[in-house]
Amino acid sequence: MKATIFFPLVLVALSVSGSLQAANLFAGQDRAANVCAQCHGIHKPAAGAPFPSLAGRDAAYLKEALKQYRSKKRVSEIMNAIAGSLRDNDIDDLVAYYSKLKP
């Protein structure tokens, strides 16, 4: 029932970000499904997987974590490589998607 959930969410995202550049939930979903979900899952990581869950996490925290991984302030062999190629708007899209997703 994703479609019915997303449309109101897009409206929320638009109104929250106001006149600033709006995060694109669909772009976020696309990237999450293609990249992040490989380890972190959509709603939750795989049973027995050593990766933290992302769905429903605090947006500010997610954004900060991704930026720190990108700048290598926070060190992780895998996450530094993955986050290293994200642009600011990619991070915004991903954060918007995962933070609004029910775990």
């Binding site: 499904a33 990249v35 490989q38 959509i42 709603h43 997987a49 050593p50 990766f51 895998i78 490589a81």
Partner: protein, 533 residues
């Protein structure tokens, strides 16, 4: 399920991985060569392979639903690139990330092990090994005589083979759903990925689950628990149940054998060594392809993949075998038609589907298919006086089609163009469309296409998400269930007429979907009157 070809998403990922490679290369170049032997001391790489890789890549390093990993296939591959694939997984495939699950030392040891181990000779798994593996979990004499839950008919059960991301562990189970309410009724943990679910056609309470590591579980659907299990080999999806519900036959890729079991006790009764002369005149030892019981007779039909033969086993005496040779190159899966008398079987390497008469025990005709036909259980529908069979094809070629055959005349009616390679068709007598799953390894994998039974045209494309595959109709034909596959982690349910999404059932890496209704209609899409009693 098909053999997976490794392709990596050409998006953000390639850049991420190349970054990772560059970073690791410096380290690797310095350390890999001189430290290899020393660093891996104390790591049992063979055990690691068995416990993490073998269920998909094959205990003999010869490949199964994933590529063969041995000295020959990995010759010249960069150890660093291989480490990266193990760490991150291979996107758009079932290969999961082992970063954090295996240590860096273990991953390095595995890579070295894989690049130095040849494909192993077929390990033995004898009837005595099978007998010793039989486990009993419940006293069947004390089970209740009715289902412990409310359900109008057991045919409304739908079983989903949930692989689990790692193909083993807590996520691997068979999940049973009430296809009227789309609520989960029960689940059976299977240890390794569940691959096939089959039902007893006589006593509706029993189901059989086969895993990727060839364990067969006998499941009591009334109480939703496994009552027995037996390990019939190392891997191989072949599983069939006889029309009288008394026998099961299972076949393996490793080793090259098949076995008939007592369907009640799971005790092995007879094993068969699978070997024969292939269509090119060469004597070969062979993987077991599909195994099927038919409502037509007290027989099993089994495909010898590499030998290109179909054996018909009579369920009497010492289980005598009639061998039908020259059926096609690299046989795989099949479906039944004409009250179970005729068998349509896919020959990958010939791009043909061969029709076999199980009464005469001979080939009727070899029909054109698309490239690399994978029938995935097949579908047949009766329309305007004709019985039409639908054949999916998972090869990559310029022209991707679904074949439609007139099963009475045994001729090609149409090759319907579809978006990409396809793996499994679904049909139901009461539903207007035949659903096919697009499995090409890019965005198209999200799609399922619907073919109108009458016009034989694609009329709609569903964006299911994930890697959508294995569509299946509920027993009443009202709902279409689809696994959103590796990255979707849900089973999505559509109304079969309006094609509106009506439910989502979360599950880890769902794959094959098997309606209990299948015991009623032999081949999906036909009416129960196709069955003989």
């Amino acid at each position: 399920m098909k053999i997976i070809k490794k392709t990596i998403n050409q998006t953000i990922l390639s850049s991420a991985i190349s970054l990772l490679l560059t970073a690791s290369n410096l380290y690797a170049a310095d350390h890999e060569a001189k430290d290899t032997q020393k660093a891996h001391e104390g790591v049992n790489a063979h055990k690691l392979f068995e416990e993490n890789c073998a269920s998909c890549h094959g205990s003999d390093h010869g490949g199964f639903i994933a590529p063969a990993l041995n000295a020959a296939t990995l010759k010249g591959r960069s150890p660093t690139a291989l480490r990266t694939i193990i760490m991150t997984g291979s996107f758009d495939t079932l290969m999961p990330p082992f970063y954090g699950k295996l240590s860096d030392t273990e991953i390095r040891a595995l890579v070295q092990h894989l690049q130095t181990t040849p494909k192993l000779p077929n390990p033995a798994w004898t009837i005595n090994d099978m007998k010793a593996s039989l486990k009993i979990y419940a006293d069947e004499s004390k089970l209740p005589t009715k289902p412990t839950y409310q359900l109008g008919s057991l045919d409304d059960l739908i079983g989903v083979a949930a692989r689990g991301k790692y193909g083993r562990g807590e996520g691997s189970k068979a999940v049973f759903i009430n296809s009227k309410t789309h609520q989960k009724i029960g689940e059976i943990k299977t240890g390794t990925a569940a691959h096939i679910i089959d039902y007893n056609p006589v006593n509706q309470r029993w189901a059989y689950i086969k895993t990727d590591t060839a364990e067969i579980f006998k499941v009591d659907l009334y109480t939703m628990q496994a009552v027995r299990s037996i390990k019939t080999g190392y891997n191989g999806p072949g599983l069939g149940v006889s029309r009288d519900g008394k026998y099961i036959m299972a076949g393996s890729f490793v080793p090259h054998n098949a076995v008939i079991l007592d369907a009640n006790t799971l005790e092995p009764l007879k094993t068969f060594e699978l070997e024969g002369v292939d269509p090119d005149g060469k004597m070969v030892s062979s993987d077991s392809g599909m195994i099927i019981g038919t409502p037509f007779a007290d027989i099993f039909a089994i495909a010898l993949e590499n030998a290109g033969q179909v054996w018909v086993v009579d369920l009497k005496g010492d289980f005598p075998v009639t061998k039908i040779t020259d059926v096609g190159r690299h046989l795989h899966d099949a479906f039944l038609t004409h009250k179970g008398r005729k068998l349509m079987i896919a020959a990958y390497d010939d791009s043909k589907v061969t029709a076999i008469d199980l009464q005469e025990r001979k080939i009727i005709k070899k029909l054109d298919a698309g490239c690399v036909p994978h029938l995935g259980g097949g579908a047949a529908v009766k329309v305007d006086g004709r019985t039409l069979g639908f054949g999916t094809n998972f090869g990559s070629c310029d022209k991707t089609v679904v074949s439609v055959w007139d099963l009475d005349k045994m001729e090609v009616v149409k090759q319907i163009p579809v978006l990409g390679g396809t793996e499994s068709p679904a049909a139901h007598a009461n539903a207007p469309y035949v659903a096919v799953d697009i499995i090409s390894k890019d965005r198209r994998a999200r799609a399922v296409q619907l073919i109108d039974k009458k016009t034989l045209e694609v009329v709609k494309t569903l964006d299911v998400g994930g890697h959508a595959y294995f569509p299946e109709y509920s027993a009443d034909g009202k709902f279409l269930y689809i696994s959103a596959g590796y990255s979707g982690d849900e089973v999505v349910v559509y109304d079969s007429v309006s094609l509106k999404k009506v439910a989502s059932i979360p599950m880890e890496s769902p794959a094959g979907i098997f309606s209990h209704g299948r015991v009623k209609y032999m081949t999906r899409g036909l009416l129960p009157d196709e069955m003989v009693k």
